[in-house]
Structure formats: structure tokens, C-alpha cells
């Protein structure tokens, strides 16, 4: 790629306002933290808070390390024109990142066929499109917190739960035609034709309900609550819609189906040492995250599809899961955002795409060691040479972990573009890491000494207790459980394989369909743009408590 065509140049020019190829600059002259509008605002807020709480001190950027001895860089959200301050990418400061996780956590999918079979075969009750529509109307009253069976019940203010609803989808086009459109996630309308056919073939004639539990429930309780909240309202709605006896034995079948047998959670429960239940980020496999992200529906660009998954994974796995749940830290944002800002990973990945397209074709070669070695070596060397050529690029990715993550992600994505094989892709990631280590005689933080030095040994194995297809691995996979700067990228590599193959989904068609729902608060087709809206304070989240607190 010629120098002037590098995708990251625009961001570098905005960030540094200096020649990106110049090796020398001035430091210590930027006015410290005061150079940042956001930090000045933080100081003002802190003053007000201190006064309000009787002098207890709080935020004070003059404590600790002297911030701003160099330029406090802004960041351009990759794939957008939006430039934001780094602080606004912390999940605490970004309502869109929060809602992204809220929307995943508060979703549960429940198969309807068991319930319908119980009604028809055990109770002799007819199930028709009309009864399904009636049931859907009932569940849309109950799921946000409305009462349907008992007569003296407290209920939830709908203004607090405006984001809560239930929808339905099916691979049966005839049934879909008769479902009220407000309840239907319409596969034929939401997906390109070829993808719709793949999805319908995968799910058959089955019917599924998608429950969106109120955001507030997930925040007050946890991900493990979601299926229970959904199941309770499903049981009550079946009783109401089909005029059943609240105590009859068949109700136990509905409960069992809605709580266990027919439930598809987004994340599996975690072992006790992780202290989390189901539907928490640590239990979400990479393949599932690929299916949550919806760029495959709206873009034909396989690199863009992969990068949107990387970005979502960086926000969810690095910033929220490892950065907060697991570590309690505040600094992981700096690592994580490297994968979705300043068009750097984009540049490296498109370079790899062009390389493999010319040499192998997209999804056109077998995943041999020779192919993996060739592509991962070329893309890694290209990426690292950019840091040599553009000192401001090196200064942008000032930590080795940032560089290691994006160089290896681009390598893995590029291998997937050629082979359509995610395990070959992750093998390319590992080669990139050890090449990088020798190039710079440094890599990332200690974590890169762990999984990235031994990962090759399990990247082509799918035997129990040794490894897994990459799609089935997740944040709790052995060796992956503690290292920032990896998990989002792994998810992106998994997506890259399926994008190269033009698959409609990576792992679970039900998840792909459930998140195609246009009523979701967060737009999963454009996660980076949504993150930018959050940073610019343009994103309106759910779960606010304004209706029940004093005006402010």
C-alpha cells in the first residue's frame, strides 16, 4: 500500500497535527491535564461533588502521575469520521457501550414448540396463529412487569421498562405470514435472500420467542436472572392466553421448558472461581458474539464484518469483562480501544485482504501450514514496518500489547480470508506473536508470555480438554481467561472465517436472528458508530430511573 493511501493517516494527522514521519517532537509543554476538555469538566464536577458531600475529597488529577506531559490524544472511531476523547471510551463514560452489554445480557431465546406441543397433545388445546398473537400480546404486557393472573399485584411502571418486549421468529414462512408484524422478527425482510435461506434451513419450521427483559433488571440483579424473569412471565402468559388452570400439572411443563429445556442463553454459567451465573460476559463464546453482531446483514465487506466483531469484543470482553468484572481496574480501555480506533487494524487487515486476494483468492485455498506461515508472516512484517515508518503511529499504539493485538488480529483475519478456517486463523495469530517478539525483542504485558507462546500447540486440535474450534472457545477457555487484548480479536478471527465463506451465521442461527431485531436499543449492525455516539453523548440508553426520582 502506498504511503499516502494508509488508512490510519487521517487519524494520525488529527491526533498529532505534526508530520507523522518525524521522529522528534517536544514534550512537557501541553499544560498537563488541563489540555483535555473532558478532564477540565471532571474537575468542575468533582468540585461540586466535594461541596455537596461536606468536603470529602474526590477526583483530583494533580494526585499521582502527572497527566498530560505529552499530548493527550483524541481517538477516531475506526470506520467513522467521529473523533472523541479517550476518557469517553471508558465504559463508565459511554452509555452506548453500557447498552451494548445490557442488550446482550437482557436477551433470552425460548423455543415455543415444547409449550405448543404440551397444549395440543396433552391438553387438547388448539394452537393457531391467532392464539400465538394473543399470547404475544399477553407476554408483552407481562414481560416488562405487568400482572396477569393474581388480582392484587404490584406492577412495574412501564416508563422504567420501555425497552422490554417479546418477539417471535420462525423458519416457517406460512406461519410467519400470519403473525402480527409488530411481534415478528422477519427473517425474509431483515436478511439478504441467500442468508435468509441459510438461516431458515438451519432452524427448520421451529418457532422461537425472544424475550428482552428490562435493562434495569439486568443491572440490579445479574445475567442469571434474565432467563428466570422471562420464564416466570412466559408461564403466566400461557396460563392467561390459553385460559389454563394455574395449578395444573401441565404448567410444570411450561415452566421446565421456559426455564431449562428450551432456553438459549447468550452466555453459559461460569465455574465458581469466576463467581458468575449464566448470561454474563465470561460465558459468551466467540462464535456467539459473532452472531450477536449484525454487520453481515448490512455490509458485503468481509473485513468490515470482522472488525465490527473485534470492536464489540474489545468493548465487552476487554473493557467490561476483564477490565471491570475480573480485575476491578480502570485502565483496560487504553489497551482495548487500540483495536477499534484510528483505522489502524483496518489498514493492516485490508492490506492482508489485498495480499490474499491476489495470491490465493478469498476462501479459495486449503488451510495448510505453508499458507498460514506465508500470510501471517507477510501481514505481521507489514504491520510492524508501519510502526517503523510512522513514528506517530508507534506513539499512538504506545503499548506493546496494543501493537501485538492488532498485528496478530490482522494476521489471523487475513489467514481466514484465504482459508475460511478460523482455527487456521488463530494459528496465524500465534505465529504473528512470536515473529513480533523477535522483531522488536519485546511483545506485550506478561499475558503475552503465556497464551501466545503456547497457543500454537492447541490451535489445530479439537479434542476434548485440549482445545476446541475457535467459535466454541470463549473468555473462560484455559489460558484465555486473564489476558486483555485477545478475546475480541479472537472473536473477530472467528467471524473472518465465516465472512470469507459468506456464511449467514458463525455458530448459532437463533442468536443471529434474535439480534437482527430492529427494536433493540443498541444497533448491532454498527457497533463502532454506536460507540462513537456514546462518546459524543448522542446515544440514548434504556434503564434510566428518571420516572421514579426527583426531577434533575
Amino acid at each position: 500500500m502506498e504511503s499516502e493511501k494508509k488508512l490510519f493517516l487521517k487519524a494520525l494527522k488529527e491526533k498529532f497535527e505534526e508530520d507523522p514521519k518525524e521522529k522528534y517532537t517536544k514534550f512537557y509543554t501541553f499544560g498537563g491535564w488541563k489540555q483535555s476538555k473532558r478532564k477540565r469538566e471532571f474537575v468542575e464536577h468533582a468540585k461540586e461533588i466535594m461541596e455537596k458531600r461536606g468536603g470529602i475529597p474526590g477526583y483530583n488529577p494533580d494526585i499521582g502521575v502527572p497527566l498530560g506531559q505529552r499530548k493527550l490524544m483524541p481517538y477516531k472511531l475506526s470506520g467513522t469520521d467521529d473523533i472523541v476523547e479517550g476518557d469517553d471510551l471508558h465504559f463508565m463514560n459511554n452509555a452506548a457501550i453500557q447498552q451494548m452489554w445490557d442488550d446482550i445480557r437482557r436477551t433470552v431465546i425460548v423455543g415455543m414448540d415444547t409449550g405448543h406441543a404440551v397444549l395440543e397433545k396433552r391438553l387438547g388445546v388448539e394452537v393457531t396463529p391467532e392464539t400465538i398473537n394473543e399470547y404475544m400480546e399477553t407476554i408483552n404486557h407481562a414481560l416488562p412487569g405487568g400482572a396477569v393472573v393474581q388480582e392484587h399485584m404490584v406492577e412495574v411502571d412501564p416508563a422504567l421498562a420501555w425497552d422490554s418486549y417479546a418477539k417471535i421468529f420462525t423458519g416457517d414462512d406460512e406461519l410467519a405470514d400470519e403473525i402480527d408484524k409488530v411481534f415478528l422478527i422477519d427473517i425474509n425482510k431483515l436478511f439478504p435472500e441467500e442468508q435468509a435461506e441459510q438461516l431458515k434451513a438451519a432452524i427448520g419450521k421451529k418457532t422461537y420467542q425472544v424475550s428482552r427483559v428490562p435493562t434495569l433488571v439486568g443491572r440490579v440483579c445479574d445475567g442469571g436472572t434474565i432467563a428466570r424473569w422471562s420464564a416466570m412471565q412466559i408461564g403466566m402468559s400461557f396460563i392467561t392466553a390459553y385460559k389454563l388452570c394455574a395449578g395444573e400439572a401441565a404448567i410444570a411443563d411450561f415452566s421446565y421448558a421456559a426455564k431449562h429445556a428450551d432456553v438459549i442463553s447468550i452466555g453459559t454459567a461460569l465455574p465458581a472461581r469466576r463467581s458468575r451465573g449464566a448470561n454474563e460476559p465470561g460465558g459468551i463464546p466467540f462464535g456467539i458474539l459473532c452472531d450477536v453482531v449484525q454487520t453481515t446483514r448490512v455490509s458485503e465487506d468481509p473485513i468490515e464484518q470482522s472488525l465490527e466483531v473485534v470492536a464489540t469484543g474489545a468493548m465487552l470482553y476487554d473493557q467490561i469483562w476483564l477490565g471491570a468484572y475480573m480485575s476491578g481496574g480502570v485502565g483496560f480501555t487504553q489497551y482495548a480501544t487500540a483495536a477499534y480506533t484510528d483505522d489502524i487494524l483496518d489498514d493492516f487487515s485490508y492490506y492482508g485482504y489485498d495480499y490474499v486476494e491476489k495470491k490465493y483468492g478469498i476462501n479459495s485455498t486449503k488451510p495448510t501450514m505453508d499458507v498460514v506461515e506465508d500470510i501471517a508472516t507477510e501481514v505481521t512484517l507489514y504491520a510492524l514496518e508501519q510502526y517503523d515508518e510512522f513514528p506517530t503511529l508507534l506513539e499512538d499504539h504506545f503499548g506493546g500489547s496494543q501493537r501485538a493485538a492488532v498485528a496478530a488480529a490482522a494476521s489471523g483475519i487475513s489467514v481466514c480470508m484465504a482459508t475460511g478456517n478460523s482455527n487456521a486463523g488463530v494459528n496465524g495469530w500465534y505465529l504473528s506473536q512470536i515473529l513480533h517478539k523477535e522483531y522488536h525483542s519485546r511483545l506485550g504485558f506478561y499475558g503475552y508470555d503465556l497464551q501466545d507462546q503456547c497457543g500454537a500447540s492447541n490451535s489445530l486440535s479439537i479434542r476434548n480438554d485440549e482445545a476446541s474450534p475457535l467459535e466454541l472457545r470463549g473468555p473462560n477457555y484455559p489460558n484465555y481467561a486473564m489476558n486483555v487484548g485477545h478475546q475480541g480479536e479472537y472473536a473477530g478471527i472467528a467471524q473472518a472465517a465465516h465472512s470469507a465463506r459468506r456464511d449467514a451465521f458463525a455458530m448459532n442461527p437463533l442468536i443471529k436472528i434474535a439480534f437482527a431485531d430492529p427494536s433493540l436499543v443498541f444497533d448491532f449492525a454498527h457497533p463502532r458508530k454506536e460507540c462513537a455516539r456514546g462518546a459524543l453523548r448522542e446515544f440514548e440508553p434504556a434503564g434510566e430511573r428518571d420516572p421514579i426520582i426527583p426531577a434533575h
Binding site: 502521575v65 508472516t377 505465529l431 519485546r442 506485550g444
Partner: protein, 260 residues
């Protein structure tokens, strides 16, 4: 057959510089003579002249259970005396600093005993018995061509600078400005110790090496010096390691390695 250490693969100058660092038989060029007390001041853990703090009695005075490992391994002098363990940590600029983090780790392990070392992208720590540490800090880490005053930093915390552009005097960025360039002498002066505590008086660590000299002695590949692409032998060895790990997996057999 006696094993002949090869230290590092590669046919370029960078690979040779790495081998020179690691090979204990190679004496690195001595470039400066920083007084012992000045090194102690920068390290900031002991007052010059102060006795070494001990964490156990001399080994000779201790009643230790029998263990044949003790017969096999000769303790280093600081361990014999019971001196405590302290550290020195370096940050090395990617703009041709002589040593680089993994190069440091491998060099320490080849050349010294009683070393505990940790490597990250922006810093590299070595921990040893304090008396032994001071000795190698001066005689190897700072006085020789393993060090440059401008592009190597002695930094315990807030280490960052390795990947940033250099300042107008060619010094690596340091948010705590532990060292400054003295325009009168052209020397680098440490005004704070390695954790950023101000020193009573500056410590002169000498003149920065010229960019030409750094390019000759550095151990980092760079496109504007020796690119890694040119070192086909190194790339071949890295690929071989990767292939062996991948194909060997959890059940390496001889067949796996036959055609590598």
C-alpha cells in the same frame, strides 16, 4: 559431545549484536565510568556507604536441613551474606536503544546467576541480592555499550517512553522527567532516582551516544536500519518453532519433527 551454545539465530548485524550481548565470553565495550555511589543514588534503595540490609543470617551460620541441591549449587555472594533482594528496571527506546527487553532477559540469564527477571514491552526488571545487583548494574548494565544515557531510562514506576518520539535533544520521553539534558556539557543528568524521588544533587551519566553509534550497536530490527525481512535465517527459525509447536500439539512424536 559438548553442547556449543549458539545464543541466537540470524545473519544480520542485529542478530550478531544480540549474540554479543548474550555470549558471556564477549566483553562489551566500556564507554563510561559512573561512580559506585552515583549508581546507588539512582537506584534509590540504599544510602551510599550504608550497610546492606540482610533478610537472614549468613548461610554459614544457619542450621539448614540437608539437601543435595545445596551441595550442587554454589550460592552467589549476596545470598551467602543474607543480603536482601532489590531491583533495577530499565526502559529502552525503540529508537535504537542498545538493549531491548527480551534481549535483556536472555542476556541476564546467560551471563549472571541468581537473577530473577521480568519482561514487558516498556520495561524490563532484574531482581537480585542487592550487593550483586549493584555490581552488575554498574559494571555491565550502565558502564558498557549495553546502555545509552538518552534512549535507556532507569525507571521503577511510570516507565512509559519506549515507543514515543524522542524529544528535541534526542532523549526518550519520561513523564516524571527523572533525567534532563545539560546543554552546557552535553551530558545527561539524573535529577530523580528510579522511582522519581528528587536527588540532593544531579548524577551525571555522561554523553548520549551518537545516532550512528546506536544504529551500529542496537538490537532492534527497524525498517530504517536492518529490517527483519532481511534476516531470512531468523524468520526461518521462528517459523520452525511455530510449526513444531503446532504440529506437535499435545502428542509430539518424532515424525512430527522429521520434515520441519
Amino acid at each position: 559431545m559438548a553442547y556449543e551454545p549458539q545464543y541466537y539465530p540470524g545473519k544480520t548485524k542485529i542478530a550478531q549484536n544480540r549474540r554479543n550481548h548474550m555470549n558471556p565470553n564477549v566483553e562489551l565495550e566500556k564507554l563510561r565510568e559512573i561512580p559506585d555511589d552515583d549508581i546507588v543514588k539512582i537506584m534509590g534503595q540504599r544510602q551510599p556507604g550504608e550497610d546492606y540490609k540482610t533478610v537472614h543470617p549468613p548461610l554459614e551460620e544457619m542450621d539448614l536441613p540437608e539437601d543435595y541441591v545445596r551441595d550442587l549449587v554454589e550460592p552467589i555472594s549476596g545470598a551467602k551474606e543474607g543480603h536482601r533482594i532489590r531491583y533495577i528496571q530499565f526502559a529502552d527506546s525503540m529508537y535504537n536503544a542498545p538493549a531491548q527487553p527480551y534481549d535483556r532477559a536472555r542476556t541476564y540469564m546467560w551471563r549472571f546467576r541468581g537473577v530473577d527477571t521480568g519482561t514487558l514491552s516498556g520495561r524490563q526488571v532484574i531482581e537480585m541480592r542487592e550487593s550483586n545487583l549493584e555490581e552488575i548494574a554498574k559494571n555491565f548494565c550502565i558502564d558498557t555499550a549495553f546502555y545509552d544515557p538518552a534512549v535507556c531510562g532507569i525507571r521503577g514506576a511510570t516507565v512509559h517512553g519506549h515507543s514515543l518520539r524522542l524529544d528535541e535533544n534526542g532523549l526518550m520521553f519520561d513523564a516524571l522527567q527523572r533525567y534532563v539534558y545539560d546543554e552546557k556539557t552535553g551530558h545527561v543528568l539524573y535529577v530523580k532516582d528510579q522511582v522519581g524521588k528528587p536527588l540532593d544533587e544531579p548524577v551525571d551519566v555522561g554523553e548520549p551516544l551518537s545516532p550512528e553509534k546506536l544504529v551500529e550497536i542496537t538490537t532492534i530490527y527497524r525498517k530504517d536500519n536492518i529490517p527483519m525481512r532481511e534476516d531470512t535465517e531468523l524468520i526461518k527459525v521462528v517459523k520452525r518453532i511455530h510449526r513444531a509447536r503446532t504440529l506437535g500439539g499435545y502428542m509430539p512424536t518424532e515424525d512430527t519433527f522429521k520434515d520441519l
